[in-house]
């Protein structure tokens, strides 16, 4: 048996008390809600850690190349493949570049690509997801076709498709972004469509139609704003995924090329030295990659929990 209805009854009760006190409470209620978010973050340690990692990664995207101990691209052939030391905290790679500085500088490429491609994918996927719920015969048909097209895109293994796209158009940051956008927008389309189908059937949407709102008004004023929740949650997971794919593409040599600092390329570069015992050129960027992906995944999890009403148990 579900406990939800009782929880709802309690909410109604408290809601009732709120409004009994009248409109001046509005501001307090809003403050209370803010506290609610803060309280939720405080009570959820995983989300707090995730948010901290995300914040650091964004800081590094902005300032990473400036705060390293060395220039991330300058080579020093007198000190190749030296282990971690006071001078080079994470050691140096085979070209004598400082790994610590390169790890800090990489988010400028990896995270930038991931964030921009996710933003593009959302900008395309979310509105299409709402359109795919069209009620008219034409809308239904469009929706059907859109979904079948998504099936085709998603039927390809993600990485192979990215590889093919980048191979076809050439390896550059821009092309990686385009490839990731094509890969990710079907996810947002489906997430949004699922939510929008539920919203579309709600009474307030019907009320808007009776008020004279046309299809566009209903879709974009009512359905869309109420359906973006799942896509927002999906976004952080998509960022994590995009970072992995970007690094993966570079790892196989199809993405960002050295000497630009990039985690995947660094791991790939360093991998050949692993056998001879020099672990540091690939392990440190690998750790950084893992931690950032984990951070975004934790934030995604926390958001999902926050938006899910049954969490209030």
């Amino acid at each position: 048996m579900s406990i939800e209805p009782e929880t709802r009854a309690l909410e109604e009760e408290t809601g009732h008390l709120d409004s009994a006190a009248g409109p001046p409470l509005t501001a307090a209620v809003q403050r209370g809600e803010l506290n609610g978010v803060g309280g939720f973050v405080r009570s959820n340690r995983a989300l707090a850690i995730g948010l901290a990692i995300v914040a650091i990664s964004i800081f590094l995207m902005a300032f990473g190349p400036l705060i390293g101990t060395h220039s991330p691209t300058s080579e020093d052939f007198t000190a190749t493949l030296t282990g971690p030391s006071g001078e080079h905290w994470f050691g140096t790679d085979q070209n004598g570049r400082d790994i610590f500085s390169r790890v800090l500088a990489a988010p400028r490429v990896d995270l930038y690509i991931a964030l921009v491609s996710t933003a593009f994918a959302m900008a395309i996927g979310v509105p299409l997801g709402v359109l795919a719920t069209g009620t008219s015969r034409l809308g239904e048909l469009t929706g059907e076709w859109l979904l079948r097209a998504m099936d085709v895109i998603q039927a390809f293994p993600v990485f192979i498709l990215a590889l093919a796209l980048v191979a076809g158009f050439g390896a550059s940051a821009f092309n990686v972004i385009i490839a990731l956008t094509v890969l990710q927008f079907p996810v947002f389309l489906r997430l949004t469509r699922g939510a929008a189908l539920g919203i579309r059937g709600r009474t307030f949407v019907e009320a808007a139609r009776i008020g004279g709102a046309g299809t566009g008004g209903v879709m974009f004023r009512h359905v869309l704003p109420n359906s973006v929740g799942p896509a927002l949650v999906g976004a952080s997971v998509a960022v994590a995924q995009a970072i992995l794919i970007t690094a993966g593409l570079s790892f196989v040599g199809a993405g960002i090329r050295p000497p630009t600092p990039e985690w995947g390329a660094m791991i790939s570069d360093g991998a050949q030295n692993l056998i001879t015992g020099q672990w540091w050129p690939s392990v440190f960027p690998g750790l950084a990659l893992g931690i950032v992906v984990l951070g975004y995944a934790l934030v995604g999890d926390g958001l999902r929990l926050y938006l899910d009403p049954s969490r209030r148990r």
Binding site: E13, H16, P23, R202, G214
Partner: protein, 611 residues
């Protein structure tokens, strides 16, 4: 010694927004064996918390702050989950609202009954199979042996609720509690379920608590009443004493609100049929069939009626009777399969809502059942009211804002509420806002689709008053769709009773409530409980439930349930014809016999005597 004694019980809950909220304050009461205690209160009064505390199933944010609960003289360890477990569902059980949601959708109901018996040792193992079948029989489920293998989705709402009751009874509880056991069920099914509940309590000698916000249920099915308000007991009395003269002010208010609904109050005069106003809307032979992949649903099968200007026509009937479909056709949300809907001389059946907003004189608007559902949760109340003004008027932003303030005043809300979001307000305020939105562009016809059914009694009365006032001020016509007869009685000029997509009885509201000449009309209206323990209730009960609209019974739609059925009823469909000597239409072959016998009940009684 009483079966259950509660002494000074106080419960508290942590609310994220309000801090600590006291949900029940110093509750003291007792329940004896074979007795039904009725607990009445509006939503939020603490009924549910109380029953859940007795069962020891508190939420994590709830706790008992003071008091004790004794069961057969023994202290109940309600805070100790493990210690309560052997009692839950065995010696103490709870029937909750929500029918199907209370059943596991992927398990057969027989297995669910076995589970409940299996988690306690009160029924010997070898007897459980037979007991499960016996339980289903005792709650009135036909063909119980076969139904044990059914899944919940194969059962109707009424049948599901019977299964929920069977589950509660499985271990022969000594204390049977019910929390709004009939919420969401049709009136005809409600009385079936409540009759069953009382019968079971009387048969088993269990003590019982019935928590409800419907005073009428307490009047008819309980021995004692306890009025709860904001967690506190306001009054405790026997049902007879209470309805003869409540001692508390709140009790008086409750009875008055309920009696006003019954129309006994001189302050709420019966609404007479209006005189010679011209007709606003004429519906002729309206038919609406839905095609699904495999079936055709015959939702509306040829109905006709007229609504005059400034008049209210109430469309009543069980769910599945097609009344909401009629409303949706009139609102332009769906288009009829055939038939005409003529408003001011124009057939509006095929004019979409969007086109209607371009023709001010054809505007129609709707007020829905769930006020919170009908408002965009992200929009302020003001913005929701403003929306139809954007499409249906040429006002600029300033003009619209002014009109919103005007509309808020018209529905009795201070304009400050315009900045609030729906979840910050109560259902009553939300419904006022929905009404304000509906009248924003001066429509001539409002379709009110169960506007009061989700509201507490006191709020309900306010909304009905508001609707009546607006009708008088603005000359609005209403199509009032409802199964809430108390509201219908207050607001309707005319009433049309629907069954399986046809109108079976139609006439002036006051007269129809006074006397029904159609067997279905009689059965439906006599199922309606009024807050009066001495209400004269017909023995006439409809058998079973409304048939599916996929395969209509041949002949009279009521023939499968009618107590007065004759062979000819299954062969042809009786037309809706004028009743001789009355301002009334009825669809029945036996109208003359009913009139001669003096009524449906009388004819029924005479036939039973003869047989």
């Amino acid at each position: 010694m009483a079966l259950l004694e509660v002494e000074g019980l106080t419960t508290q809950a942590d609310s994220p927004r309000r801090g600590v909220v006291t949900t029940v304050k110093g509750f003291t009461a007792s329940v004896g064996e074979g007795e039904i205690l009725g607990i009445v209160g509006e939503s939020g009064a603490g009924k549910t918390v109380l029953l859940r505390t007795i069962l020891g199933i508190l939420n994590r944010n709830e706790r008992v702050a003071a008091g004790e609960i004794r069961f057969r003289g023994e202290l109940l360890p309600v805070l100790d989950d493990e210690a309560m477990r052997p009692r839950r569902g065995s010696s103490i059980s709870l029937i909750q609202a929500g029918q199907r949601a209370r059943l596991d959708p992927v398990r057969r109901i027989g297995d669910q009954l076995m589970d409940v018996m299996g988690s306690h040792d009160r029924v010997p193992k070898q007897e459980r199979g037979a007991r499960a079948e016996e339980l289903l029989r005792s709650v009135g489920i036909p063909d119980p042996r076969h139904q044990l293998r059914a899944y919940p989705h194969e059962l109707s709402g009424g049948m599901s609720q019977r299964v929920v009751i069977a589950l509660a009874l499985a271990n022969s509880p000594e204390l049977l509690m019910a929390d709004e056991p009939t919420a969401g069920l049709d009136v005809t099914i409600q009385v079936q379920i409540l009759d069953l509940f009382r019968q079971l309590v009387r048969d088993t000698g269990a003590g019982s608590i019935l928590a409800t916000r419907d005073l009428s249920q307490v009047a008819h099915y309980c021995d004692r009443i306890l009025v709860l308000r904001a967690g506190e007991i306001v009054e405790q009395a026997t049902v007879k004493e209470f309805f003869a003269g409540p001692k508390s002010e709140y009790g008086r208010e409750l009875i008055q609100a309920a009696r006003a609904a019954r129309g006994e109050d001189e302050e709420a005069p019966r609404r007479r049929r209006r005189g010679d106003e011209p007709p606003l809307l004429e519906v002729r032979d309206l038919v609406k069939h839905y095609k699904t992949q495999r079936h055709v649903v015959h939702a509306v099968n040829g109905i006709s009626f007229t609504i005059k200007q400034g008049e209210t026509l109430a469309l009543v009937g069980e769910s599945g009777s097609g009344k909401t479909t009629v409303g949706r056709c009139l609102a332009g949300l769906i288009h009829p399969t055939s038939g005409q809907i003529t408003m001011l001389g124009r057939d509006i059946g095929h004019i979409s809502t969007r086109k209607r907003s371009k023709h001010a004189e054809l505007e129609t608007h709707v007020v829905f059942q769930e006020p919170r559902e009908s408002l965009n949760p992200r929009w302020t109340l003001g913005k929701s009211v403003e929306e139809p003004l954007r499409y249906g008027t040429r006002l600029d932003a300033r003009g619209r804002a002014q009109r919103v303030v005007e509309l808020f005043e018209q529905v009795g809300l201070p304009p400050e509420y315009a900045d609030q979001l729906p979840h910050q307000t109560t259902a009553g305020i939300q419904q006022r806002v929905a009404v304000a939105r509906a009248i924003a562009v001066h429509p001539k016809l409002l379709i009110l689709d169960e506007p009061t059914s989700a509201l507490d009694m006191s709020v309900k009365a306010q909304i009905v008053d508001l609707l009546i006032r607006l009708q008088e001020e603005l000359g609005l016509s209403y199509l009032f769709i409802s199964h809430d007869m108390t509201a219908v009685k207050m607001i309707a000029h005319q009433i049309a009773i629907m069954y399986l997509g046809t109108i079976v009885e139609h006439g002036p509201s006051a007269e129809v409530f006074e006397r029904q000449v159609n067997p279905y009309g009689r059965a439906l209206l006599s199922s309606v409980l009024f807050p009066d323990p001495d209400q004269d209730r017909s023995r006439l009960r409809l058998q079973g439930e409304i048939p599916s609209a996929i395969e209509l019974p041949p002949g009279c739609p009521l023939s499968s349930r009618c107590p007065l059925v004759q062979p000819r009823c299954t062969e042809a469909r009786p037309p809706l014809a004028p009743v001789p000597g009355m301002d009334r239409l009825s669809a029945c072959f036996r109208t003359d016999e009913i009139l001669a016998a003096g009524g449906v009940d009388e004819l029924h009684a005479a036939e039973r005597r003869a047989a």
